[in-house]
Structure formats: structure tokens, C-alpha cells
């Protein structure tokens, strides 16, 4: 029993450590989200509620900007849907892992499913060979607490932080995401996925400011899938599993 407990403790610590660089990287965005919400006329409670319940950085920032510019609710809902549409990809990818979990755990993992939690959780699944609900929940909660703490700082003291963007904390995102993907680059389909989605995202971002991530990802996935089918058409029984190391 104590053996199991200590293994779970180690897993939980690893989950916190894995998501920590990504959580630190979004602190400036959390502060900005809180500060901008107040500037746009939200009450402190509404600004915090947004991070507590919407819990989606890019969608929050863009909706605050849209609202301040006088956009209609329907256009804000539309942009929220488009920006967070990439979560549908995470949801369908995770489906096989969570199908047998209790409703409570599925609701919790669904609620906590962010880019960051998906990234570290997929990496853990591929590293250890099995999905862990504990790992997903602990990493997701860690991110949730830090995101909401950062929002709170922005609500209380937003005007104190002017140059957060220039600190370069976003490099932690670059480093972590490269670290999670480049180890498998020797596999040609993965190389194609990375090259295609990267190039397409860079080119599309100025035009499709809200949907470039999901479009680029689908192009990369399609390229990788087509090449994998070409290399190995027989192995389509679902055993073929590749993911971040």
C-alpha cells in the first residue's frame, strides 16, 4: 500500500515538474489577461471568473480585445469556438485513454485539457507506455492554479507590469515543445508533420490569426499520415503508435 502511495507521489511530482516550464511561460499572458479584462470594464470578480471557468488563454485575450472594440456577442462566441477548436483534436486523441474512466474523472480531465496539459500528458503516455489519469489531472491542476494566480496578479496590479512581453518568457514554450517533438524526428512521418505544420503555421498566421494552429496541424497530420500509409500501408491495425518521447 505504501509502495503504491510513494509511486503515485513520484508520478504526481513528475507531472508538476513537467508542466512547470510551460506554466511559468504563460504567467505574463495570465497577468495581461487579468489587467486587460479590468481595462475593458470587467469587475475583478468577472475577470477572475473568466480564468476560472473559460480557462483558455488565447480565447480569453482575443475576446477581451474584441469586446473592448465593440464586437457583438455572436462574433466573440464565433472566435472563441474557432480559437479553441484545436481542443477537439486533443479530445479525440485522448478519447481512447479516458473512455473507461469514471464520469467525474472524465469531466475533470476534459475541463483541464489545455495545450500544455495535452503536451506533457501525451509525452508521459508515450514515455511510460500507458495513459495516467493522475498525471493528467495533477499537471492540469498545476497549470490551472498558476494561470489563475497570474490572472489575479494582473487584476490587482496590472498597471505595474508594462514590459512583460519583452522578458522573453515565451521561449520556454519553444524549448519545451521542441524537447517534446525533436527526439522522434528520425521517423520520416514525424519529420513531415513537424516541417509541414511549422511552415504552414508561420505562413498562415498573418491571415488566419485565429485558426492558423488548427489548420496547420491538420495539414501536418495529413502529410505525415499519407507518408506513413505510403511507407507501410499494411500496418493500419491501430498498433502503429507514435507520439512524443
Amino acid at each position: 500500500m505504501s509502495q503504491i502511495r510513494s509511486e503515485e507521489g513520484a508520478l504526481a511530482r513528475r507531472a508538476v515538474l513537467d508542466i512547470l516550464p510551460l506554466s511559468i511561460a504563460v504567467i505574463p499572458w495570465g497577468i495581461l489577461t487579468g489587467a486587460l479584462a479590468i481595462q475593458a470594464g470587467f469587475s475583478a470578480l468577472q475577470a477572475q471568473f473568466m480564468s476560472l471557468c473559460v480557462f483558455a488563454g488565447a480565447a480569453q485575450l482575443s475576446s477581451i480585445t474584441l469586446l473592448a472594440g465593440g464586437a457583438s456577442f455572436s462574433s466573440i462566441y464565433g472566435s472563441t469556438f474557432v480559437i479553441s477548436a484545436r481542443h477537439l483534436l486533443y479530445s479525440i486523441t485522448f478519447r481512447q485513454h479516458v473512455a473507461d474512466l469514471s464520469l467525474r474523472h472524465r469531466l475533470l480531465i476534459g475541463f483541464l485539457l489545455t495545450d500544455e496539459m495535452f503536451a506533457v500528458s501525451e509525452a508521459h503516455t508515450n514515455r511510460s507506455g500507458a495513459f495516467s489519469a493522475l498525471f493528467a489531472i495533477v499537471s492540469g491542476l498545476t497549470f490551472y492554479v498558476i494561470w489563475n494566480g497570474a490572472t489575479l496578479i494582473g487584476i490587482i496590479a496590472g498597471d505595474l507590469f508594462d514590459n512583460l512581453d519583452s522578458l522573453g518568457l515565451d521561449f520556454a514554450i519553444v524549448a519545451t515543445f521542441i524537447a517534446m517533438t525533436f527526439g522522434e524526428l528520425r521517423k520520416y512521418p514525424v519529420l513531415i508533420a513537424v516541417a509541414l505544420s511549422g511552415v504552414v503555421a508561420v505562413i498562415l498566421k498573418p491571415v488566419f490569426t485565429e485558426s492558423y494552429i488548427v489548420i496547420a496541424a491538420l495539414v501536418g497530420m495529413f502529410g505525415a499520415y499519407s507518408f506513413a500509409e505510403y511507407l507501410d500501408p499494411e500496418n493500419s491495425d491501430g498498433e502503429y503508435k507514435e507520439g512524443p518521447q
Partner: protein, 105 residues
Amino acid sequence: MIWLLLLGMALITFFNRYLFFSDLVSYSPSPKLRRFLSYSSYSVLTAIWAPIIFHFDGRSEIAIAGIDYLLAAALAAALSFAKVSSIVVVLLSVSLFFSIRFYLV
């Protein structure tokens, strides 16, 4: 009115996250779709980080966020390709990034 906006947004983001976890969706991905989805993390993560470093102006020019970004990302790429563990890759490349940023640039 803002409360209504926030509730609507919360429902939309939760819908996108939970949709395929729900019992109401009984769809189960075929082996081909699962193969397709096995590349989702590589593709999404790259689509998120690449535009942080490379900025396209929409016409012909591609700018780089900075030499600090480029060199530290190159280090991260080389180390990861060489199968160095993720935590070490992040620590070393972030250290290089801030060293360049605060001492050289």
C-alpha cells in the same frame, strides 16, 4: 451582460474539450483515423512554437524574433534530436536564451 458572455464562452471551451469524452458521442476512431491522430501532438506543438520564432509579414519577408531565440532553439533542437532528456534540454536552452538576452544583446 458580461456574465452572459463569460458563461457562453465557458460552455464553448468546455464543449470543445469534452465532446469526445462524452458517452453521448459513441463514435470510435478507426485504425486509420487513430494513425492520423497519432501525429496530432507533433503537429499542434510545432504550429504553436514555430510562429513564436518566425514572423511572416504576409507578403515575402520572414523575420526572426531574435538571435537569442534562434540560437537557443537550435540548441534545443540539436539536444532533443540527440535524445537528451526533455528536462535537461529545457534547462540548457532556456539558460542559453537568457544568457544571450541579458549579457550579449
